[in-house]
Symmetry: D2
Subunit: 347 residues, 4 copies
């Protein structure tokens, strides 16, 4: 079968012919229909320090996908919940089930997580084998949307953690695809004010398309001053920090109201100088680090949001390529003009 | 000034001329513009057991209103937050500030609460004096909407308590005005499914106008069976119990999913037989009794909901009468064809 | 092997020779050392309506136990967490893992739960086979204590649900073994006042041994009046309802303070008349139905409580019998003079 | 009357004769019995950058105290809750009551807070006037303990925020008086493991006296490694960060388990470099900034803890001086050999 493979240390990926994966007793073999290209895939393409420290090539890349069930292992079949032909997506974090986080409802923080496309073969291929417990029926959700439920789930987790979004004020700092999804989720969850910021005008357009009441460009606007104006000088209830940048962190802490929250998803590549006294302690702030999706309450809320029509992530999808177009996909993302980029792999 | 007064024991009310209320140092004198007629006012009109046990006539009735500030007591003026001419509404529960509930963020459960129009003179009058701490600026909200923020706040409290409405399934049981508001609040808060039930077809129409995905008539529909169908056999995450009827309670407990919530606002006039083993313990349900509005987090969320346009209670307002039309107002409510009924008192 | 078997409809149980259970790939075979006799076992012995409606004899009884691992199925062994000779206990609720409660952190409310000793063969036997995921290492906890972690876990779940026990006031209503455990858990969790009530003087002694600051006998004391006295007229923050009796429910609701909680574990055999207006709605109460133990956060908190010495359930254990003494065990429980009764099955 | 006054810019304080404060209508005049000397008072003595930026001398210092009511303003008397001769303590944050934090249960984050002894005259004096709403009856608590309920309340706030202390593992990083109190509060709240660290051996002794299961000296011990050992490699559930030092922050983040909390009270005097990716985001940590005491739920829990005997802060009190001994008090604190230092002002 075809697969996009990181063949060794260094930049780039190759489309190769590799064997169809084996299907264990508790596994499901899925014919991949669509897959999402993620910033993580760019790090792997570029072979940055993180990638070099974590990946063991050769490895099939890709961790966001949807597909059709082609085969079920014996135990997976015995469960009776899924059958050949079902359209599905999957959580890409394979967890141990034994550690304290796993046993106390925090599987997303499993100390032995293995991520598809990072720690084991991934979804940029004609087929992928997944443990049955990670597989979710699409149940009417379009396969293209199913392919991006991993990053949409990141947004759902980031926006909803803390529990008081209805009627609240939200600042989404950074409008990459997950930031744009977060704007839509915050609107769907009844936020009374959603402000979004980014340096990239195309991304601000997408944020507005997803329902941002106001968008700000830190290159031109005094972001914190404007947010204070919009909130009677107080700051917002919730900041969704999607930039991962030290300057973003500073704005996030300054933009949150006393007693507010900063939910942090953007992954920094370096350290940030924090004035904890001024920015966290005297303000009574709560900071929360967002990893993945809660397994599986985030998926449950997300599926209902999408199926009910409350939330539609599709305006964020701007580009589609065939599997062989991975280099172009990487290019448009690096170029900064893309929202979410989809690979159309199978039908 | 004019006032609708309960003059003594027995049914009815009278429009009388009474003195303009005195304004204490911490009080604000408000010229009443609009007032809402509530089910509680009906109990007082009818002089039922509850009314007879609690009210001490003569008393000016009415606890939901909006108005314009006419005068401020010395301390109220010194605060500098309100000024003559401001359009305002007010929380009608006057609380002690000293008891444990008051001192630990539960003022709505103050053990010495005195309610305007019930325990002291109310708002069906040309003027009312209120403690400044109970007064809220309308800040652009229309006075007619300001006049019903008390019952809208009941709905906000009922829907949002428990914190997980976005993406959830909600059943509003009973579609009087507060039930209809609850439908709209649940939709605004991103509920993925909102089902509403009532025996009264006019009320079901209002519930649909407020955004109910489906309405059920317990006189014809098997309510619990239908809710199970809509939720894959599980039941809903949240029931808003607005009926106060034993039959409603039974449906509420049966319609909630294992681990779900039943937030109870409808005030029963008699006891209910509860099978706690089957309906609460084995299902892991949470029941919560809703009193008033959280002071003032409910008001804050509500004001933002209304100002942002996420939630508009106005379709529920079906009738308007002058102060002198109180008997007709009571009549249309008893008749069951009204949503919310407003008195137009001043301008 | 020996087993205590419900052989058919009607009262009683028999010690019989039955085959050692088969061990599936994901199972662990455990040589039983100690087992706890529970009120549920009494219902089964008596063959009451609940037992008759649920059990399918012949069935080995018993759901609380500890033991030593004798054999591991292939997949259980492959996990590498448990080995032959390990001392263990186990959660007796075998859950499906697929339903919404299971997938969203509420496995204790699984819609397909099967309980050992009720829905499948149990632990009053020389050996029991358990799914590896239900098995917990004793890790230094004595086997006799390990044998009662099921009911201790009920108490931990009942006391800790709601989250504010440190510094709070707690009323444990009903001092059977789980009530007595709840007293000790509330003390260990830093409750500032723990009051316990029961009609049975021997049980009140045990409650005092577990740390109750004051014990009340509803046959002689005005329970609610005394609790109001002890709490400046307010009532307690948390009632742990362990009686399952309508009169207990009434006291529980009356004894809780405005804004308080009633966590209900005692399983009623009949309905209760509830005045929701007075007792729940106007008081802003939260009622919560306690089922089993949270899987596995309750187990985690409980194990730490016991291992740290913060909480010692052993004073509640009053009687020990060999497996053949089941009739006597049932007798002392019915007699009302027992705390927790243990079967000493193996060594 | 006597008062310890900051007379102007620059180091030191003076005992001076100043007028007894005026008593407003809502105020209470309190004869001071005991007062606690706090790290904040040292900053003021030293006249560091923070003090120079905030204080406007001349000002009477001191914000932790207990005393006896000497006089009540008219409105304070009318409330009927306090009377002349009552022994009391008080919350030293005077809040506006109008801002969003004040109106939504977060008065400790009032945007217009004025602190006694910092922004207005304080308690190191024979008399202090306080708003009646800030005054709390000692109700049997010894005046010396009442004098330190401000910092004890900091510890209660730090330990209990997050809600899951019973059965949990806690690391108190920094054993000044508030750290030592935190150790005792964590033990009283049923933490299964409490580890404390400090460079100062005298402080580690106090931490052990307050119940720390283990104390660590970062000068000699590998603190994080030891904490991992004690928690099976996971880290603790809760870190109470009391050091305010960048090195402490790094240890705090490293010592918390995945999904754990770091509640930060120690006030840093400079910025900290934070690796948010490694330390917060991938670990799913929650950081929370602790300001003051929740008004008044922290006071309520604290009073009950102390009155019940669950928690006794007295071992932390190591030195007592008369009002005139302020220079010596400052000296023993700077010297690092003191726990909590008390001024004995009146009787």
């Amino acid at each position: 079968m075809r697969a996009i493979v990181k063949t060794g240390a260094g930049p780039g990926m190759e489309v190769r012919d590799v064997p169809v994966p084996a299907v264990g007793a508790s596994d499901v073999l899925i014919k991949v229909l669509n897959a999402g290209v993620c910033g993580t895939d760019l790090h792997i393409w570029e072979w940055d320090a993180w990638a070099a420290g974590r990946l063991k090539p050769p490895l099939t890349i890709g961790h966001e996908f949807s597909g059709r069930i082609e085969k079920l292992g014996e135990d997976a079949a015995a469960e009776g919940l899924l059958k050949i032909g079902d359209l599905v997506t999957a959580e890409g974090h394979i967890i141990c089930g034994h550690c304290l986080p796993c046993r106390t409802g925090n599987g997303h923080l499993c100390v032995r997580t293995r991520i598809i496309g990072v720690d084991r073969d991934g979804a940029f291929a004609d087929y992928i084998a997944m443990p049955v417990s990670n597989v979710m029926l699409l149940d009417g959700i379009a396969p293209e949307i199913g392919a991006i439920m991993d990053p949409v789930g990141n947004a759902v987790h980031t926006v909803l953690e803390g529990g008081d979004v209805p009627g609240s004020t939200v600042f989404v700092l950074g409008c990459g695809p997950i930031g744009c999804f977060a704007v839509g989720v915050a609107r769907a969850a009844g936020a009374a004010l959603v402000v979004a910021s980014d340096f990239n005008l195309r991304r601000l357009e997408l944020a507005r398309a997803m329902g941002a009441h106001e968008t700000l460009n830190p290159g031109q606007d005094d972001v914190v001053a404007r947010i204070k104006e919009l909130t009677r000088g107080l700051g917002v209830d919730l900041v969704c920090e999607m930039s991962g940048h030290p300057a973003g962190h500073a704005q996030a802490f300054a933009a949150a109201r006393p007693g507010g929250r900063v939910n942090m998803l953007g992954t920094p590549s370096r350290t940030t100088e924090v004035d904890f006294a001024r920015d966290v302690i005297f303000k009574g702030l709560t900071l929360y680090g967002v990893t993945g999706r809660k397994m599986y309450s985030t998926w449950n809320a997300m599926a209902r949001f999408i199926k009910s029509g409350e939330f539609d992530p599709s305006p964020v999808v701007t580009h589609r390529f065939p599997l062989e177009g991975i280099a172009q996909a990487v290019e448009v993302i690096k170029d900064g003009q893309a929202g979410k980029v989809i690979l159309e792999i199978g039908t």
